[in-house]
Symmetry: C2
DNA sequence: TTGAGACTTAGAATTATTCCAACTATTGAC
DNA sequence: GTCAATAGTTGGAATAATTCTAAGTCTCAA
């Protein structure tokens, strides 16, 4: 993953009362071993894996984990704002542990996804919204050529 | 559909040599009766239908059209930049004949999708892109509450 | 007129995701 | 601590959007 700037620092959770665990607990959810592991898998390699890829990586350390559980964990992590879900094409959803404000650049040639830092995107966007709309979340995605593929052509 | 401002004006194609038809022909594709009809269905009601919904609407005037053809037509229209494909959640893709620069606002309460005019979005976005990236297309989507649903709460 | 390539069609196949039912784990009230 | 209630996990089945396939039709250009 090409990352321009990072603000999210992962503190590995040791007990249920880590900041991450608390963020869940307030939603009435539990920070189970499976959920912690799925989260660590995402943090461990900061690309944009699909649920299937997360499943394969998670199985290395936790072979008995099921795909259904991985879907459940990802869903919970997204709902707790610990992970972003990225829907670029109609293909499988991808998951991104970078919670700083950023958008995604999808290279049409090599297929890679890049995080692009986008400061104050949502503030700018909401100033453009017609009166009455209440913005909760903004997602910006781009397609084109990454520097490497653009240079080749 | 709540439309703030529109720049796209539809000129109904009469012969194969309409502007719309030419836009296809240059790609080695044909502006067949099915493709024209699917396009007119989209233009006719400017909301954001799924492929299934387009299929149902198209069948009124052209009962023998198949779902596979509708998928083919939508794909071709998107590739010829006559229609935008909108992927909001993981649900069915939606199609939008508004080709002016705009983004989509998805109301979390009523589920409606609104076109929000966004002038010079892509110019601003590309100035934020790190050196070397070549932007072809930008998509911005928002979630939150539409004026009607926000007022209710 | 004919051959090549594009298009349409119905139905089958694919695939990401969700659902289900049985079982296990955790929490809070007593 | 015990126990009921609730939450989570698991494997497999089900779902639903989309793509593929094969056969037939249409269009264009030589």
């Amino acid at each position: 993953m090409s990352k321009v700037k990072s603000r999210t620092v992962f503190v590995p959770p040791q007990r249920e009362t880590t900041p991450v665990g608390e963020q869940m607990a307030t939603s009435g959810l539990r920070f189970t071993p499976q959920r912690r592991h799925v989260y660590q898998v995402l943090i461990g390699k900061r690309d944009h894996p699909t649920a299937e890829e997360v499943y394969l990586r998670a199985k290395h350390e936790m072979p008995e984990i099921s795909l259904a559980t991985v879907y459940n964990c990802l869903d919970v992590l997204v709902r707790c704002s610990l992970v972003k879900q990225v829907n670029l094409n109609r293909a499988a959803a991808r998951f991104c542990p970078n919670m700083s404000q950023h958008s995604h650049f999808h290279c049409e040639d090599c297929g890679q996804i890049f995080d692009i830092d986008g400061e104050s995107q949502s503030r700018r966007a909401s100033t453009r919204l017609p009166r009455g709309f209440k913005l909760h979340q903004l997602e910006m995605s781009m397609r084109g050529l990454c520097p490497h593929c653009a240079a080749k052509q």
